[in-house]
Subunit: 355 residues, 2 copies
Amino acid sequence: MEIRIERATTLKEKPKAGEALGFGKYYTDHMFVMDWDRGQGWHDARIVPFGPIPMDPASMVLHYAQETFEGLKAYRTKDDRILLFRPEMNARRFANSNRRLCMPEVAEEDFVEAVTQLVACEKDWVPAEEGTSLYIRPFMFATEAAVGVHPASSYKFVIILSPVGAYYPEGVNPVKIYVEDEYVRATPGGTGFTKCGGNYAASIAAQVKAEEMGFTQVLWLDGVHRKYVEEVGTMNVMFMIDNEIYTAPCDGTVLPGVTRDSIIHILKSWGYKVNEMHLAIDDLMKAGHDKTLQEAFGTGTAAVISPIGELRYKEDEVTINDFKTGELTQKLYDTLTGIQWGDIEDTFGWTREVK
Amino acid sequence: MEIRIERATTLKEKPKAGEALGFGKYYTDHMFVMDWDRGQGWHDARIVPFGPIPMDPASMVLHYAQETFEGLKAYRTKDDRILLFRPEMNARRFANSNRRLCMPEVAEEDFVEAVTQLVACEKDWVPAEEGTSLYIRPFMFATEAAVGVHPASSYKFVIILSPVGAYYPEGVNPVKIYVEDEYVRATPGGTGFTKCGGNYAASIAAQVKAEEMGFTQVLWLDGVHRKYVEEVGTMNVMFMIDNEIYTAPCDGTVLPGVTRDSIIHILKSWGYKVNEMHLAIDDLMKAGHDKTLQEAFGTGTAAVISPIGELRYKEDEVTINDFKTGELTQKLYDTLTGIQWGDIEDTFGWTREVK
Ligand SMILES: Cc1ncc(COP(=O)(O)O)c(C=O)c1O
Ligand SMILES: Cc1ncc(COP(=O)(O)O)c(C=O)c1O
């Protein structure tokens, strides 16, 4: 893939060292853009100044949400190298999302190449403070101007970058989770396994409700039986019960998280038994009450690991590990972030240096 | 609501009388736009020249599909009046969609006022040939630039207009329908009752599959039992069995169609018994085989009524009314289009003249 580079004539001022970066408060000077249409396929790959995209008001993405995205990060090591973490996993998941939404696929090597070249071009934007990183957001959307519902005849693939702060400036801390029994995130035959915009729009109401009730996130149950545990907010979720690990299988309704997969590999390398199975919420609450539920945590690119200190399901409530971050949870966090920031040897071969 | 009007300096050439208009091929000279943000609420209502909207690449609509839409039509009568059909129903459904998606509501009277003023401004665009109309597409989307998933802090409400052709230039004809048993459109706790973009993006794969197999549309089954009949493509669906009418109730997974509601009123006024209930696909196919299934049709703004001539469910196939448009189906089509185009007296009080 040939990428044309058009440099911005004036560069933005970068956030100062030590300044709170937040999440998505700053965007870098450039973005990657590539166009697709039915006749030409993908063409005109380019890195251009970050700026507004003119949209026809009839663009299909504004009406029928033919849109998918990915999320990954670039990390600056202590010796000033820049690492990506398993970007090929995001490339493959992106292709799966696009296939389900009848959108064109981006070849794995082109996806990784585009991410790599854009990050290389913006390498001065990768922050250096402990826990900070450069968030990478590839996304694709339908641009055809049409009001009929059909696969669009033209799309844009865009990548933008945002330097983001440490997710836990005060250290990893447990959160309170509300088990959602009214709204549903995903159902078999739907789009739960994809990162398509519609999944997220539909999820906002439950998140707002949980926050109003004083919880940080929702735990989603399956859409058919309203019984089996699926995910937590925009994270996969894992439980340690009687020294074994439980997490939902990726069989259509759960997003196959890169963090989930990495944590499973680490756990297995440490000799843990990992059960990818449908765990009933009643069994989980019971395990919480009889204290066989030892630890619980969400996994995702943004927070890496998010310990769960409390679960509320209807009128029932359990506290996990006395609302303290579990020993295994902390060790997983330290190990995975250690690999990502290059402080621990990457025996899994997961990191890719951006030169 | 004060609407500022900024007229286009040059007007487009309108399609010639007799030219095939298609659906969404032409857009008029102006569009309605109004902005919302958390501080000001709705403001700056304006009718401006139709043209591209500059979008920040981080606009939430491009990532999380916080977007909803409506669809209705303006009709030109033989005596050159312009009629809207029950626009307040679209206003109410739009508000319901927006509430579910945590988006700001547009007051019913403002919605109707915006539609009415825009159509009045573009009244020369309402085509006159038999069966043609001006399609009205109100839509709302999140504009805040942010990569976190939350209700956006800013939105745009836009209305665009497109003169559209007769849906059936060769007259009403039955279609073949594929009963979809793999993909799911909606599930309780989800967004099936709303016109949000995500529902439509998720539905494209099934539509493509049905077309590849030689069918015009899919019939959707419920997402929990995969058993009960819900909708046909982007239409509600009705069946005449043993001289009674059956259609799915609007209890969360089905879009409450304005056409559906109108047809039910007409049917009841004619003395028909209308059963809004969950009809099992097995019972429907059985009724097809023993010929108690007399007629079947989809209902929606675009086609008004779309007769169903054949149903295929797994290996089973039934033909309905010898693949001919049923007598009741035709009479409903003639009656409703008669009211909409002002040829039949509107005893229901459904039409609103645009002055
Ligand atoms: C719904 C959902 N589940 C799980 C995840 C975790 O995936 P990953 O570990 O690849 O970030 C994400 C997001 O990023 C998500 O949006
Ligand atoms: C999913 C779906 N069902 C039903 C309908 C019919 O609704 P109405 O009669 O208001 O056009 C529509 C569309 O317009 C639709 O998108």
